[in-house]
Symmetry: C2
Subunit: 444 residues, 2 copies
């Protein structure tokens, strides 16, 4: 993309309404625009990152054998009356009446609807296990939306629902989700620590939240520092292998890691003192096995091997897709702007032309642009007639991980400059070597 033809409305001033760094940078980098309290337009740069995160979530869910579909944003109130949640949900549910006076709502989550799909179409245990998920806009009418996309009212969530014959199978589905989430977060450049969560009124031990450590996190977290040494890495996983998935769960959840909701001071104090950590975290996902809560109330049964009806064992598993943009920025920025991890960066590499209009510089930039594009990468070429300082400031603000700077002086010596956004380190290279290095980084 050539910046002269893009729509990147960068702001010079820091918007006064933004209290946290991710919100400030998303506004300043022209990624979002607020349209109403807690409701945002995703401007081109923000939309690109949103789609990259969505793509990673889709890929990792499908790798785990989970099946995508798409449920609508609006739901009939009648479904929620069946589960009893229409009255219980409170004011965060956006209730709507259509022209015929029918009660509708903007879905805050989809347990009822997916259970309805299941009971309409599945009748035998032979069709299990089954995991259906979607990535769809949700609405929760927060009384005080804030922190930009971190606590918006209209937000994008991946929510997946598991259907199994037995509790044992349902816990394998739970473990599959844990593994697929670890993989997804790591691909986004995030360390998200599974922490024991509060089961709420349903109770039970089988729920974990995934938290990204960040000073601006909404939750206080307590953990054994050993958990931050764990990485999933590029290990092979067979999602059908019950023991292997269980092993990953044990590896990642056996050490102490809890939010203030489930914190147990006595247990915490059993950790050697030098490994005890108290910090803040941002919740970016949750997995939850809840058994037959919805299948009982909504009549979702299958015929078991003995021919008798069995209420299906369920779980629901969520990733906060739009919120992740905020979380990634909270975890990865400096005082100049965002620092995108390679896995989610909106453009792979910036190209800065120090002297637009100079024949050699223009030609070299065009050649770099073409070579990077032909290698399957998406460069952002700042081809505007602006001074170099302004171009650097924009590139730093929008946070592309790599930048190639091209100027007449360097070209006389046959070199361009390749700069790493994270370290700030630069090296002089031939244009061909710069392209080769950027290509090799993304091939890794």
């Amino acid at each position: 993309m050539r910046l002269s033809r893009y729509f990147l409305p960068v702001l010079k001033e820091t918007p006064s309404e933004a209290q946290i760094v991710s919100h400030r940078y998303m506004l300043r980098a022209g990624m979002i625009k607020q349209q109403a309290a807690g409701i945002y337009s995703w401007l081109p740069l923000g939309f690109k990152v949103l789609r990259k995160i969505e793509d990673i979530v889709h890929e990792e869910q499908q790798r785990a054998g989970h099946i995508p579909l798409l449920m609508p944003t609006l739901q009939s109130a009648d479904l929620w009356r069946e589960s009893g949640r229409y009255d219980d949900y409170g004011e965060e549910m956006l209730r709507i009446t259509d022209r015929h006076g029918r009660d509708m709502l903007y879905g805050p989550t989809n347990e009822e609807m997916v259970t309805d799909i299941f009971r309409s179409h599945v009748s035998s245990y032979k069709d299990l296990p089954l995991t259906l998920y979607h990535i769809q806009w949700k609405f929760r009418d927060e009384i005080r939306p804030r922190f930009g996309v971190m606590r918006g009212r209209e937000f994008l969530m991946k929510d997946g629902y598991t259907f199994d014959l037995t509790k044992e199978d349902a816990l394998h589905a739970y473990n599959r989700h844990l593994v697929s989430y670890l993989r997804a977060y790591e691909r986004m450049g995030l360390q998200a620590i599974p922490m024991r969560a509060d089961g709420g009124p349903i109770g039970g031990d089988y729920t974990h939240e995934f938290l990204v450590l960040a000073e601006t996190g909404e939750s206080e977290v307590f953990y054994d520092s050993d958990v931050t040494d764990l990485t999933f890495g590029d290990r092979e996983i067979d999602y059908d292998d019950v023991a292997q998935c269980q092993g990953v769960l044990e590896e990642f959840t056996s050490r102490y890691a809890r939010t203030d909701e489930t914190h147990d001071e006595a247990l915490f104090n059993e950790i050697p003192e030098e490994r005890r950590r108290v910090a803040r975290g941002i919740e970016v996902g949750q997995i939850f096995y809840f058994g037959t809560k919805y299948s009982d109330s909504m009549g979702a049964t299958v015929q078991g091997p003995d021919g008798k009806p069995v209420p299906v064992e369920m779980g629901s598993h969520g990733i906060g897709v739009s919120r992740l943009l905020g979380a990634i920025i909270e975890a990865s920025h400096d005082d100049k702007g965002i620092i995108w991890p390679e896995g989610v960066t909106p453009f792979h590499c910036g190209i800065v032309n120090l002297k637009q209009g100079d024949e050699a510089a223009d030609g070299a930039c065009e050649a770099l642009y073409e070579q990077l594009t032909n290698a399957g990468l998406e460069p952002l070429y700042d081809d505007r007639k602006e001074r170099a300082g302004g171009k650097f400031a924009t590139m730093d603000l929008i946070g592309l991980p790599w930048r190639i700077t091209v100027g007449p002086r360097g070209l006389k010596n046959g070199v361009v400059e390749l700069t790493c956004r994270r370290t700030g380190e630069s090296e002089e290279l031939s244009p061909e070597a710069a392209v080769a290095k950027v290509v090799s980084i993304y091939a890794a």
Copy 2:
């Protein structure tokens, strides 16, 4: 995908509520499930086709230089009060009140919001031309939703908005859209004929609807049969070339082609009688240049070259993404089911194992599955223990363009059967030759 692990809830019975063939087949093929009047879940097979159509639209819009973003589904009523449409829109607008008593609405279209984004961020003619588009769910509270996704209440639309300094530039943007739409529809296997549309209260000559001919179309259409000979094909197009885009417009719109809304009997009768056609059509898109209607009322001006403020020239251009699934099926089916064009098929090729459990048949199917997958295609392998007749009926119903049938008898002779869904023709080939042929069809 292995069918034993997929969620494809095919119905044996024809649902009584479905009046037209696309609605019947989408329900029977397990593509959609109605959740409320005019509101559907997109089950896995339906969701796959929806995403393919979305991808084609994205690719062709970006090829034309148009920039994707994403505006939210809910909008503030205040924006629509500025343009005067909040009161004018009528009962099809779904009006919502949030917990603080603020008036909101579920967007039926986005002229106001995109104009708001434009006026907030663009102030100079130097930033023009600009086309912003998104693909987002819309809601129109139709009094009588029907025909499945063809006339739903919650529907997916691509809507793009053009911003230009002059009428001349705006008409080039209009032409770019016409070209990009022709390309997109052809990639979906559709012939969509641009027909002169009614400008409505705004008037003007610059609006065309794109209609797909189908017996079940909602509009009566009148055209010169020469228009159906036109194809865009694989010609090269430079979207910056004003004359070239104008040439395509003239080529595709100079012959008589109108809906009943703009039909002119006298003009129609000037066509030689043997070329006069009266038929029915389904509207799948519309392009519309409307000048300064919104920029005037909402104060969207840019500073012109002479330093004076100029209201920006606008147009809006839509493609009915979810509706296209219905239109494609209406245009491409037989009495056994859907016949997907290669460009939008949910899976590239079906594999039918005539004798699941037979070592040779199972092995050959697995090998085919692996080879097609390694070639970058997505096969659907019916690995269920069902009788052959049921497997064929399912494949015919869901309409994959190509099917490879594998049985012990053929394998003894070293052959499998490759069947074309559209013609019904089969040929016996070695498994390797069958894979090579399917791969070459999709490479074309």
